[in-house]
Point group: C2
Chain length 681, copies 2
């Protein structure tokens, strides 16, 4: 298929998102598919989360008879008239008063209930034998403590409208109104077909070039979350015939087909061609980032009648959804989902969710949207809608949104995202300090609990996040380097910053930088750890390195940290002291953002030396040449230091278990932890 | 058991909610049950919504090799140095450049990818035979368009903390980090035992005194929503031995037992006695409203070994949860859940949800809380925390919270509730206009879409709600009567009010009242319907009524509407005109709030005549004596009339289908619908 990108036959042609949706809706309308799919009758006990297909009208009043509202005696209100403390009224049990439990039907002659606690039972002898009686000391109005028929619902009344997603309480109201089954829109059946010769299922040992196939896991879980029923097909290799046969097979039993990957213009991308052959290719490429190589198409289900063209074993649906065939339309939309995980998940949100919502007769999800202050300038492509993942927290009065990795391959950016900022096509980017709308992935309550730590990366910050989460607090950290952290504090965009900035003049850590960058903000510098910095090298030290002086050896490929990182400053400080020119070091210009990424570069042999902490070398089984001990402090503005939000974090510094956990990591010394190093400003 | 309330042996003794929780937590701690239950290993594909029992550390880097980030040619960056438009560089395919798809591993010698769209393929003849080659016109930095190993995650890195509820995207990240199974906290197993001789299952035809048992449906759905697995037991009649045997049976296989009803002090209330016999009764009665007859207890599971004491068939759990017995504690908490549906559902929220959250290792639910202006003065018992159901909408700038029915038996008040206002013990109530905190049951987006119609009740308002919901708008109506609606508008607490107020002087509807009650607010009076008002009477007119004059006949029991209702004003107007004294009418003092409730009173023979609309009589199969035709208008402040929020409602007045639906109801004339009757103010 390499000729594709030469001939341009099925090449990407990005169109705006709104236009893509218009074309999709038009095609769905033509196929009579832009509406709820079909109703089915379900038992109430299976109806949680389903969407009503018709209004529920009460077929029974509730209560359906006049009922005692309290435990007590049913009486005629008229007979209690005049009763008072001074002039109690006596009513004979039997003819005048009958014991009644809450919920019991009122005797026909009675129209009020005297609560049991307002009654004295006595023996009375009026004429004839002794008679049990009650004495009451207050008159009752008619219908006191009686739930009259229909108090809750009157038969024929509207209980719930159509298009309502059923919550627990709704099931009770429906049952109480006289129904035990209801009509709900049937679940859309979604086939998810992962394609790619390079794919292997999770849990398989992988070799270079093999990719763990997990998009189908994410897409299936999304579909379930949105009210559909997903079928995950086995991985289909890149083979036009087999992909076509599988799509045909899936079309026979599903309302929607998601073909994962195979939607870009690479040499093994068959989805567009298959859709073109089986039906109509509507869209190939949408101007959204991440996610643009999306395919939208509509195929004819009649192809689905030639069953078993494939020989591929696919999950059977008959048992799970009996008798649904009659409810299937003659056409099936197909979405070619891009292969990068962020693109795939966003394609789910952008295309699959609104389609399922339509089929389920309810409005599409509307995430809570908040206004937040954006922390960093970002550029965005003019031609695309960009979906920027951000982490969000409240710092002082303001909500702060900090951008996360923009890579379509970085699934952790979605995992860590608190929300999405949409940069529309035609907008060149966002300025630092600009107010943006964030569509939240988390509840506002979670956001309000979030402690934002921007600054230097340390593995024990992750560990602290782990311990804090067990206490119900959330620590969200983004790695900006030590200097970046101080600058974030100066802009009031974080609650604290990890910092290990060596001042060349004093040999002291952090304080000189804080004076310079945070002149106006009172801060508390809290001790955290000292840690070993040194050279991270392959096991056995094949290059026989001994220290920084060896970096300029011709054979060495170094991997550096980004500008502003404490480790970078440390390196530059010592290089300068030693009179070594950065240009003399191969790889000085290649930057990674964390110690672990530096170690990973060494482990993968794309570099054979980096400067970083011992724990990172240890984690990946690398060797380590210790060079320096440095102090890593927590810089905390006084207002946050004193705030309840940071209390769990400060308490954690005294937590024996956490301290033990950090102490057990190689290269860490926890002696400074929790001490007050300085109060400044 | 009637002696209970005489001897006081197991009588209600309400204690504050916080104290009840303290006692419960203490008992759970003693039983080693105030912590997550136990971990179990699940396949990732079954892990959606489960809670991680331990942190997930990456066991594999992602990518786990250096991978092409684009489709193109893998090259050495050094070999592209100096390339430009003027001086393109040619690289031989094979030795210098190799075609590569996105995701493919980079050749060992390569460190950059030239995107396919930046390449010209040519034939080149340097020495020897013709050689395919590519020409490029820009130099590349090393590692351009390469996803280096660990770009997303580095092995050993924290992917997700413990105590995290898994979302679709998380499953992908976990799979990508090298896992296919994970440890999650096992689901708490909750037994739900409905007790009561009067109970019948949904779908059973009911006689007076029989109650449809649906609390177990609601509680089970709550448990599922909160991450537990519920077992609904069959209805157990009020029999001490059978209830005890069933609790013993349930204790053998569950972590928590909910016994529904049987928790108040009525004659058939055995729960407390059973708990006392099987273990320890901790709390009997909590000072919350609705819901106070709650029982909290702890029983010993050892009772569970004598199986089959009961002869009652109970759902078996073995297959659903194999091998769980070892994970069950020696003790089982029991909650006696009150029988009224609102009390039952709130007991779920107040006690069951936080316990399940603890067992699942995650913080309890924290509903979104907003500040709103309260519309009406309410009194609350000083001794109790009251959970007041409210409907919420945004009117102008303010969020408005209007109280719904406070009856514990009124499940529709929970169905219609947008949120809960907690009136704490020690507070006597809420003033109209006071700012209150509302814990929302719905998303803010839904609240923002809500049109608040307060005022007169008409059945076609429900119908309109039904039609609007299909358009994604929400109409929330509360019945305050016509006058109440105008007063709500004057306080800016509603978007519109239905009104049918006859002015005795002019014979005109509404306008004089609007002038009087809304002097300062510009409003548009929009025509809606005219409808027949008349006497709602039993079928066949057994009392031979002919008109209002007959109401003073001794034999008639009337059912009235509340003060401020248009129908009440209509009645009073005509009674006065006829010189009839209200005192002469039996039942004049008994008020209902809707036409349907008036009809229900007649249908249930608690009254034999009421004034109301024909549609209400028709709905319940009653007879009707038409007396008047009245106009029912929609009174809409100009600012709302012009707002986008009301657009769907105003459009509905022109909607052919809706008009037809109203027209087809008996007694309605839609000719006024949508006309502008007046613009005032």
């Amino acid at each position: 298929m390499k000729e594709n990108h030469k001939t341009g036959s099925v090449y990407l042609h990005d169109i705006p998102l709104a236009r893509a949706w218009d074309m999709l809706i038009q095609a769905l309308e033509t196929a009579d598919l832009w509406k709820p799919l079909a109703a089915e009758e379900v038992q109430l006990e299976n109806a949680l989360g389903r969407v009503t297909a018709e209004p529920i009208w009460a077929s029974l009043s509730s209560p359906h008879y006049h009922a005692a509202a309290m435990d007590g005696y049913a009486v005629q209100a008229a007979g209690t008239s005049g009763a008072s403390d001074r002039a109690p009224v006596t009513l004979r049990i039997g003819p005048d008063a009958v014991y009644i439990d809450t919920g019991d039907p009122m005797p026909e002659w009675a129209d009020a209930v005297v609560p049991i606690e307002n009654v004295e039972t006595i023996e009375e002898t009026v004429d004839g034998p002794a008679q049990e009686a009650i004495r009451i000391r207050a008159a009752l109005a008619p219908w006191t403590h009686v739930r009259s028929m229909g108090e809750d619902m009157v038969a024929t009344e509207l209980v719930l409208p159509a298009g309502h997603k059923l919550r627990p309480i709704d099931l009770g109201a429906i049952a109480g109104s006289g129904h035990d089954t209801i009509h709900v829109w049937r679940r859309p059946l979604v086939a998810i077909i992962p394609t790619g010769t390079e794919l292997v299922p999770p849990g398989t040992p992988v070799r270079a070039g093999e990719i763990i196939e997990y998009n189908s896991l994410v897409l299936a879980a999304q579909v379930e979350t949105w009210g559909g029923a997903a079928t995950r097909f086995p991985i289909i290799p890149d083979d036009f015939e087999r992909i076509q046969a599988t799509i045909v097979e899936a079309a026979a039993r599903h309302d929607l087909i998601l073909v994962n990957a195979g939607s870009s213009a690479g040499s093994e991308d068959f989805s567009a061609k298959v859709v073109q052959k089986l039906g109509k290719l509507l869209v190939h490429g949408v101007a959204v980032r991440p996610g643009h190589p999306v395919i939208l198409g509509m195929i004819s289900r009649s192809f689905g009648t030639d069953a078993d063209m494939t020989g591929i074993e696919v999950p059977k649906q008959e048992d799970a959804h009996p008798g649904l065939d009659r409810a299937l339309s003659a056409h099936v939309p197909v979405i070619g989902v891009p292969g990068y995980p962020v693109s795939a998940a966003l394609t789910g949100e952008i295309f699959v969710e609104p389609m399922l919502a339509r089929w389920l007769g309810c409005p599409p999800l509307e995430p809570l949207t908040v206004e937040a202050t954006f922390t960093r300038k970002v550029h965005s492509s003019l031609g695309d809608d960009e979906y920027l993942r951000v982490t969000v927290g409240r710092v002082g009065e303001r909500l702060i949104a900090a951008p996360l990795s923009r890579g379509a391959g970085v699934i952790t950016s979605m995992v860590r995202a608190d929300g999405i900022v949409l940069i529309p096509a035609g907008v060149q980017g966002i300025q630092a300090g600009e107010t943006v709308s964030v569509r939240l992935y988390r509840s506002l309550a979670e956001i309000e609990h979030t402690i934002l730590a921007l600054g230097s990366h340390d593995m024990t910050i992750d560990l602290m996040a782990q311990y804090l989460s067990a206490k119900g607090a959330r620590l969200s950290s983004a790695n900006l380097g030590s200097l970046g952290g101080l600058i974030a504090l100066s802009r009031r965009e974080a609650h604290l910053a990890g910092s290990h900035l060596l001042d060349p003049d004093s040999g002291e850590y952090n304080l000189a930088y804080i004076e310079k960058y945070l002149p106006d903000i009172p801060v508390v510098v809290v001790g955290y750890v000292t840690r070993e910095q040194g050279l991270i090298i392959p096991p056995g030290n094949p290059m026989k390195l001994t220290g920084l002086a060896d970096l300029a050896m011709g054979e060495i490929t170094f991997i550096n940290r980004q500008r502003g990182a404490g480790t970078r400053l440390l390196l530059d400080y010592h290089l300068k002291k030693m009179g070594l020119e950065p240009e003399a070091i191969t790889g000085y210009g290649r930057e990674e953002y964390t110690h672990l990424n530096v170690a990973a570069a060494v482990a993968s042999e794309s570099a054979n030396c980096g400067l970083g902490i011992r724990a990172a070398a240890d984690a990946l089984g690398l060797d380590f040449i210790p060079l320096f001990n440095e102090r890593f402090d927590l810089v905390i503005p006084l207002e946050h230091y004193q705030s309840p939000k940071l209390k769990p974090l400060l308490e954690m510094l005294d937590d024996a278990e956490f301290r033990r956990a950090v102490d057990s990591l190689a290269g860490y010394d926890i002696r400074p932890m929790g001490s007050i190093i300085a109060e400044m400003g």
